[in-house]
């Protein structure tokens, strides 16, 4: 799988490159600033892009802007954003073009190598990887979630991050069958249209949490 990386910290840039290469990604371009990013993305059309939100020269949100611009040119370009902090506002902007893989994670998550690579793969295959912190913030402001049981809320949190039923089952140590039962209950209670597609399921949940 071909990947583009954008990160201004040399150590993290090298680390990310080696990490992805170790897991058999082909890193086709490595960028360390904002202006070079969009051309790199449109030229290489990678299978997945791992981008820092904040990049030189202005150190604001150039990575995010480039990602949004690139996805306007190449619909469904899988993008995983990394940031020192996560904002539901940015997550919402990323999700404004709903096709294909979207990820938005704290940089700390890279240190859990297995989970991180899982997230990259999930995004590359059109799935979603939302940071638990974003989900927590979104869950915190929804009062109607009181209709859900504690277990259902847990499942909702995992689902919103982009995990499949199997992954949720492993994470929460329950049978996959009960996961799908919980999910059915959640989708019914929250009035979300059920769908088998993992990504659409996440988008529905996020749309609900954002509303």
């Amino acid at each position: 799988m071909r990947a583009v990386i954008a990160e201004d910290h040399a150590l993290l840039r090298d680390g990310l490159t080696r990490l992805l290469q170790a897991f058999e990604f082909e890193v086709v371009a490595v960028v360390d600033n904002g202006p070079a990013l969009l051309p790199a993305l449109t030229e290489h059309r990678p299978d997945v892009a791992v981008l820092d939100v904040r990049l030189p020269p202005t150190f604001t949100d150039e990575g995010l802007q480039a990602a949004i611009a690139a996805r306007a040119v190449i619909p469904g370009l899988p993008v995983l954003m990394l940031s020192q902090h996560v904002e539901p506002l940015y997550a919402r902007e990323l999700l404004s073009s709903p096709h294909g893989g979207i990820g938005y994670l704290l940089k700390d998550r890279v240190s859990h190598v297995g989970e991180f690579v899982d997230a990259v793969r999930r995004v590359a295959s059109g799935g979603t990887a939302m940071d638990p912190e974003v989900i927590t913030q979104l869950l915190a402001r929804r009062e109607p979630l009181a209709v859900l049981t504690a277990r259902e809320q847990e499942v909702l949190g995992e689902m919103a991050q982009g995990r499949s039923n199997a992954a949720i089952a492993t994470k929460l140590c329950i049978a996959e069958k009960s996961v799908s039962k919980h999910i059915n209950n959640i989708l019914n209670k929250l009035d979300l249209p059920p769908s088998d597609d993992d990504n659409r399921r996440v988008l529905a949940v996020l749309a609900y949490l954002n509303s």
């Binding site: 949100d61 802007q65 539901p88 506002l89 859990h112 913030q137 402001r141 009062e143 954002n210």
Partner: protein, 435 residues
């Protein structure tokens, strides 16, 4: 719509006119007190050499004069001619009637400017007041003449161009003339009052040097506040770093050292310690993130005030509407102060108001940033009760900003914050809705 508007316009014109006439009338009365005060002051000044009595008399009469000029300043301010008080601040520990009181009074140039105004001010007030009162009275006379004539029966009289009205046609012609004169009086009265106020401002407003002195006093106070706040903020950051992240990093390196020792003869134990180390580093990251957010939220650096407030609102457990009209970025220090002011008011709202909905509006027009935070909560917010509002006040005062609060019991609460500041060149932003 059009009719409604013109009715409102007439109503406003009438209110302003009547108020102008009444104020002009008041000017006549007040002009007479000026003469009295002037006479009293001259007597007091003449008596200065008399032991005890002189020293006390001057400050007392000056207190009366200041009451009079303050009244005039207020009167001018109510019609939009702002006149601030120019006096030296009262020295601490001043004994009324003593030498110090005398000195404080007579060394203030504003004292002598007040005195200089008493005479001419009286003349102008009296003159202008008489002009609009007399025109008004003449107009009223024209309007009421016919009934008066009927009441008086016969006799000779005249009004305006119909001098010597001898029959009903002539008499009826008085009416429109009177109405016109009255209309002129009502139209002119606010302007005459304004001229009076402007004349008063010539004498009673601070001079350029007094303005500078007042400004220095104000800046000294706000600078002291700002420096205090900065120092307190640095102490807080130091404490948070020292007790939180630094301590955690020490324990982290300790755990790693231990794991290093164990790794050969107890790999399982070393593994456990390393897992612990990673957890600890994660916690340190979380703490650092919170600390950074408290110093300067990253989203503020990235998106400016508009984006940061939108992000803030998204994280609050209350549906708030956000309205933003900021075609550019503010200077970083103002931006931070404005953000924390809004954040603080929103926190207060969530904590105390029991509101169901609220709104935030940010606007920048004519060099003034206006931030309005409103909610439909219980109201009765008391600026004296907590430190929140005074903290915001101090934060904004460093930039000459102000905060006003309207919170009647039962709500709604509306907090308006204004900061004069410039806006940098516009920057394109991605469109984003409100939360």
């Amino acid at each position: 719509m059009k009719v409604h508007e013109s009715v409102r316009w007439v109503g406003r014109w009438l209110r302003r006119g009547v108020a102008g006439v009444l104020r002009g009338g008041a000017s006549i009365g007040l002009a007479l007190t000026n003469i009295g005060l002037l006479a009293m002051t001259l007597v007091a000044l003449a008596m200065t050499p008399v032991p005890y009595l002189g020293l006390a008399l001057v400050p007392w009469t000056m207190t009366l004069v200041r009451m009079r000029t303050d009244l005039e300043r207020r009167r001018a301010s109510t019609i939009g001619v702002l006149v601030s008080r120019p006096y030296h601040p009262r020295p601490p520990g001043l004994v009324a009637g003593g030498w110090q009181h005398f000195r404080w009074t007579v060394t203030d140039p504003a004292t002598w400017r007040d005195l200089a105004w008493l005479g001419p001010g009286a003349l102008v007030g009296l003159g202008l007041g008489l002009i609009d009162t007399l025109i008004t009275l003449y107009g009223l006379m024209g309007v009421t003449l016919i009934p008066v004539w009927i009441w008086l029966g016969t006799g000779w009289f005249g009004y305006g161009v119909t001098w010597s009205a001898g029959n009903w046609t002539d008499a009826l012609f008085c009416l429109p003339q009177g109405a016109v004169v009255l209309a002129v009086a009502l139209s002119v009265a606010p302007w005459l009052r304004r001229v009076d106020a402007l004349f008063a401002r010539l004498f009673l407003a601070p001079t350029r040097s007094t303005q500078l002195r007042l400004r220095v006093t104000q800046l000294t106070a706000t600078r002291a506040d700002t420096v205090d706040a900065q120092a307190a903020e640095l102490r807080r950051i130091e404490r948070d770093l020292h007790d939180g992240v630094q301590a955690r990093l020490v324990s982290l390196s300790l755990i790693i050292g231990l794991a290093d020792e164990l790794i050969d003869h107890n790999p399982a134990g070393a593994h456990k310690l390393l897992a612990e180390a990673r957890e600890s580093s994660g916690t340190a990251m979380v703490e650092l993130r919170h600390l950074v957010r408290g110093i300067h939220p990253p989203v503020l650096a990235e998106r400016g005030l508009a984006g940061a407030v939108q992000a803030l609102v998204l994280s609050l457990p209350l549906a708030l509407t956000v309205e933003v009209d900021l075609p550019g970025r503010l200077d970083a220090p103002v931006e931070a102060a404005a953000y924390f002011a809004v954040a603080e008011t929103l926190t207060n709202m969530i904590r105390h108001s029991r509101a169901r909905t609220g709104s935030v509006s940010l606007r920048h027009t004519a060099g003034l940033l206006t931030m309005v935070v409103a909610d439909d909560g219980a109201g009765a917010a008391d600026p004296a009760a907590g430190t929140g509002l005074s903290g915001i006040q101090r934060r904004l005062a460093a930039f000459d900003g102000t905060i006003t609060l309207s919170s009647p019991p039962g709500g709604p609460t509306v907090i308006t914050m204004e900061v004069p500041c410039a806006l940098s060149s516009p920057r394109t932003m991605p469109s984003s809705g409100t939360g």
